[in-house]
Structure formats: C-alpha cells, structure tokens
Symmetry: C2
Subunit: 257 residues, 2 copies
C-alpha cells in the first residue's frame, strides 16, 4: 500500500440522492485504498425546522447549540453516513462509517468564545493515523462525517473540508496521498456562470493572479488556501471537480505548488 485516495464530497451533492448514487458508483470503482469524507448539506436545517429547533446564524455563520448538535449528529452520523455506507457495501466497497469519536479518529477543541460563541464547533487538533492505517490495511474504506469529539465526551461540529485536508496531511507521512474535492461545479471556474470555463491548473503563482483579478473569491478562497497548506504539508496532489470527476475525460482543476 503506497497510494491513498482521499475524496471529499460536499453538502450540495449530498442533498441529491441521484447524484450521490452515481458518485458512489465511481468512487467504489476506484482501485486501492481510499477514504471518503462527506459534508452535511441543508438537511439538518430542514430537520430543525420540522422539529421547531431554532437555527441561529450570526454574521452568516451557523451557531451550533446543543439542540442543533444533536440534529447534526442524527443527520450527518446517522442518516447520511449510514446511507452512504450501505450503498458502498452494495457496490463491494467495504465501507466503515465514522465520526471523530469512533476509534478516536479525529479530535478537536471547542472553539473558544471570543466576540462570537459558535457553540459546539470544534477545530481539529489531532488525527489518529494508526486507526486509519489499520482500517485501510484490512481493505476497509473509512467514510468520515463532519462530527468530531474533544476526547472528554463532547461531540463537536467540524468543517468537512478541514477534516479531509487534515487526514490527507496526516496520512501523507506514510503514503502518497491524492486529495480530491468534489463539489457542485466541475472545478474552479474562470467565469462563474460558464461551466465550461474550468481552470485546468492552479499553482501558487497563478493563485495570486486569480485572487487579485477577483476570479477566486468568497467560498473558494478558504478552500484553495487549505489546498495550498495541505500541499506544503506533504499531500502529493489535489484536485477540485464535480461529482463526475472520476468519469473519463471529465474536466477538473489540479492544484499544485
């Protein structure tokens, strides 16, 4: 075992069962050791509405109080994670669905209260590389959701992009790691409205240019920032693309140093 594929699929894909089913077929067909990290999408918010749980946003950021953490745990670790695992099993991919608490896979620290109290939101502190290695060596495919824990009994809501990058970095000490981010677009677009304007390669030089031109902005900024950090820390290759990125001849953006 020397190469590991780590794939993150975003919330916008997760919300569409048909897209998920197609994506999982491609993912299951990937040869060799692999890990899936999935976001949560809007389903926890929808469930909150149904249950009369208030979803509070401050400056566009979601505050995770105890009731919302419970919903997130039910939706991310329960409904979504187990649905993905069962589908992967039917595709002969021996998936094991986990949160950060399972096997102490990823640990986080509750974000300190400063101007804003995010509630039960955690920033990653540690990845249990041995746990992942053991699962991979036994031909299991870890399927990770965006719930971590603090080691003291508290589950925490943690960003899935960051979890994917942190696992990729931790494993890159032992393996060649290819990290793929799948989201609703086919890659980083030159023109946001034009799906065919996928930028094939972004390196640290062109990244600066694209930023100054305003082509990379908003949500894509932290995503790419994380990518370059992960590359600096040993991840071999990073790709950003759509849910069909593993189909032949599909465009994507390659991020390189």
């Amino acid at each position: 075992m020397d190469k590991v594929q780590l794939v993150k699929i975003g919330g916008n894909i997760i919300e569409n069962p048909e897209l998920v089913a197609d994506f999982l077929k491609d993912f299951a067909a990937l040869k060799g050791p692999k890990i899936l990290v999935h976001g949560g999408g809007k389903e926890a918010t929808a469930l909150a509405k149904k249950m009369g749980v208030e979803v509070s946003l401050v400056d566009g950021r979601r505050i995770t109080d105890a009731a919302n953490l419970e919903l997130i745990t039910m939706v991310y670790a329960g409904k979504l994670n187990k649905s993905i695992v069962a589908q992967l099993q039917s595709l002969s991919c021996n998936a094991v669905g986990i949160t950060g608490a399972d096997g102490n896979a990823y640990t986080a620290k509750k974000r300190a209260v400063q101007e804003l109290d995010y509630g039960f939101v955690g920033d990653l502190t540690q990845i249990n590389t041995d746990f992942f290695k053991n699962l991979l060596l036994q031909n299991n495919c870890p399927v990770c959701c965006a719930v971590s824990h603090d080691g003291q009994g508290q589950l925490l809501n943690t960003n899935a992009d960051t979890i994917a990058a942190a696992i990729a970095v931790a494993l890159s000490e032992h393996f060649e790691v290819v990290l793929t981010y799948c989201f609703e677009k086919n890659g980083v677009l030159e023109t946001l409205q034009d799906e065919n304007s996928v930028i094939p390669i972004i390196d640290s030089k062109t990244y600066g240019e694209l930023k100054s031109k305003g082509i990379i902005a908003e949500g894509m900024l932290p995503k790419l920032h994380n990518c370059f950090e992960a590359l600096e820390q040993g991840v071999q290759e990073i790709r950003i693309g759509g849910p069909k990125i593993f189909s032949e001849n599909n465009p994507f953006t390659k991020i390189q140093k």
Copy 2:
C-alpha cells in the same frame, strides 16, 4: 486474547442518561476485549411524534416504514450510538460505533411479507467475525446498534437482543464468550414486584419449571429462549442483570445449560 465480554444494554436504560453514564463507567473499566450492543428505547417514537411521522403498531408490533427507518437510523446510529462512543472515549475505552452495514458487520434479510408486512425489519443472516476480531485485536471496542443491512444497500431495523446473541455465538468459535444482558431489573425475578427476588441460577431444568409456574412469561420468554439457544451454540456463560451488574456484590441471574 481468549475471553470476550459481550454486553447488551436495553432500551429502558438507554433512555436515562444518568443510568447510562454510570453503566458506561463500569463497562469501560471491564478488562480485556469487549463489545457493547445497545437497544434504542422510545426516543425514535418521541422524535416521530415531534416530526409528525406516524408510528404504526399492528398487534403490538411496530411496523418500520421508510420514514420510521430513517428516524431509527438517526436516533440509534446517530444520536445514541455516537453519544455512547464519545462517553466511552472519555473513559479511555477506544470505542468504535457501528451498524451492521459498517464493515459488513452483521447482515440481515428483510422479513418476508406474510400475514403482516413488518416493513424494513431484518432477521440476521450473517456475522462478519473477522471484522470484530480485527477491531478487538487492535484494542477497539465495537459499539453495535440495532440497525443492520441487507448487503444490497438497504438498512434494516433489527432486534438488539438477537444481534447480541448472534455475535456472541459467532465469536464463541474463536473465544470464550461471556454474554451479559443488562435491563431495568436486577435479573429474572421470582416475584415481578419484588426487586429482591432475583433468581440466582436458571438452567434448562428449572427453566421448564419456572415457565409452567408462569413465573417466566411475556417479554422474558423470548429472551430466555435466545439465551438457551446461544448456550447450545457455544456461548460460555450468560448473565441477566441490571445496569449495575458490574458493580461488586450486585445480584444477577446466571443462565446455564
């Protein structure tokens, strides 16, 4: 590794967070390889009410339609399972929470529609002994919930007592297995109203007598039937007791051939 402790805690305990916390302290302190199986309790029903999902009972038996299966998956595999896992991690017990789909741990067949259509209820067909062995060898403690899968992508609601017995039987081919059922009473009671009337030992001979006297009836009948079957199939020892069964000098009922 030659002895495995397999403990099942019932729904009535699961509903009480303080009882669960106390129980988990005792469970985490058990030495050697161990497995926990947990029931679901009434929380899925409570959630169904909140969400306006109909819970249908036919002849006292719960029918698991798609909406109820989703709720069960959220509550059992999400909320309850991950809360238990996070608590065990804080007690230095390296728990890994699973459904039957994870690692293909336990597979079931959807119950055939005869007089009654139970919906998405599954009867166990197979235990993946290797998956459990590997987790135990790496000092992980599997924490199993009452959701299995059919291997074709379908999750299924499956009785937790039966899951515990089936795993115990499967592992007894390789290990000495002690199976403990923890429920709300301190054991099988001679007089249902008298908590102090715990019957210390039941063997197949006294079992017949207790049945004919009507002392063992209703819910205890299938439980004990499963116990004797598990003993016949190789399980070394079975105990039935309350949530404090692992505390010193606590009474319990030992079931033996």
